[in-house]
Amino acid sequence: MFGKILMGAAYTTLIGGAVLFHEGAITVNVQEKKPDGHHVFVLAPAAVVPWAIALAPEEHVRFEHIPPEAREALPALAAAADKLAEMPDFVLVEVDSPREHVKVEKRGGSLIVNVDSDKEKVYVSVPLRAARHTLENLAARLPQRIEPVMATP
């Protein structure tokens, strides 16, 4: 009896984990380069974010804090994430200087940002499929009170 319960719990965990992580994981790793520097590490299932945006009560989602230009670009950013996911791996931007090294690349199904500077090391990885769903959900939830983009003469 106990074995069956345990087996059921294990199957549920496996399948639940597969569902949660089927779009990959968002990873954020920040390490300050000083004695006792802060270290932040976040690993979250990417599938959660679009659901969080879709289900969050409107009073907790501060749409007015999103600049108008960013709101207008949301559909294009979603299209970009979609297209990037289809492409082979490549380096999008690389900046090399004596003070820092920055690399933004598409690797696997994720967009990865790597920064190594005098002050800190930053690593961010965002699965592109989840990014697309998030941007689409955000664009869909934007209120319709946005002012017209171009005034006709």
Binding site: I15, A85, G108, P127
Partner: protein, 198 residues
């Protein structure tokens, strides 16, 4: 009973592996890439940018920001392309239908000059900037395929069709588009079929 448990466990593990695996690329993109390379000799900084033209093609129709709508830019009132009081758009309209040759030459007292020419299917813009002692300060070379220029002007009277220009560029062969040198900084912009820069 034991066999069923093992099979069920294996099935769950297989399902987990498939769903947790990163999304693989659905198709190989073998189109053109736009590359930008900036090197600053002073502080040793370099920048490399690689953009697949297919990505620009996918984004532009969705981009609706101020003067850029559906891949087209309005040039009246908002974006004016002038070089030393010369209306570049009017020049491009004329060059489009003319034969190969040098069409505009502007020279100043300190040997600054701007040349616009059409040669071998390309629109060439050459700028040389000198200091008061006649020493060259800046050198700019722009080489744009005429097919791209025609695509750029294929939109309405007061707009530039950026999307059509990018499509024309992706059909063109490998070519260097822009080269800028000013003693401290070198900028190169070019297109080819590789997804890396040197």
């Amino acid at each position: 009973m034991k066999t069923h448990r093992v099979l069920a466990t294996l099935a769950a593990l297989a399902l987990f592996a498939v769903m947790a695996a990163p999304a693989a690329a659905q198709s190989e993109t073998t189109g053109k890439w736009l590359h930008v390379r900036v090197v600053e000799s002073g502080d040793g900084e370099s920048v490399r940018v690689n953009v697949p033209l297919a990505l620009a093609e996918a984004i532009l129709p969705s981009l609706k920001i101020k003067h850029l709508q559906n891949g087209k830019v309005k040039i009246e009132d908002h974006v004016r392309v002038h070089m030393e009081d010369v209306d570049l758009r009017a020049i491009l309209d004329a060059v489009k239908t003319a034969e190969d040759g040098e069409y505009v030459t502007v020279e100043s007292k300190n040997k600054d000059n701007v040349r616009v020419a059409k040669r071998g299917g390309y629109l060439l813009v050459e700028v040389r900037d000198h200091d008061k002692d006649g020493k060259q300060r800046e050198k700019v070379d722009v080489k744009v395929p005429m097919t791209v220029v025609e695509a750029l002007l294929s939109g309405g009277k007061d707009e530039l069709d950026i999307l059509a220009a990018i499509r024309a560029l992706s059909r063109h062969g490998d070519t260097e588009l822009v080269s800028v040198e000013d003693g401290k900084t070198t900028v190169r912009v070019w297109i080819d079929s590789k997804n890396v820069t040197e």
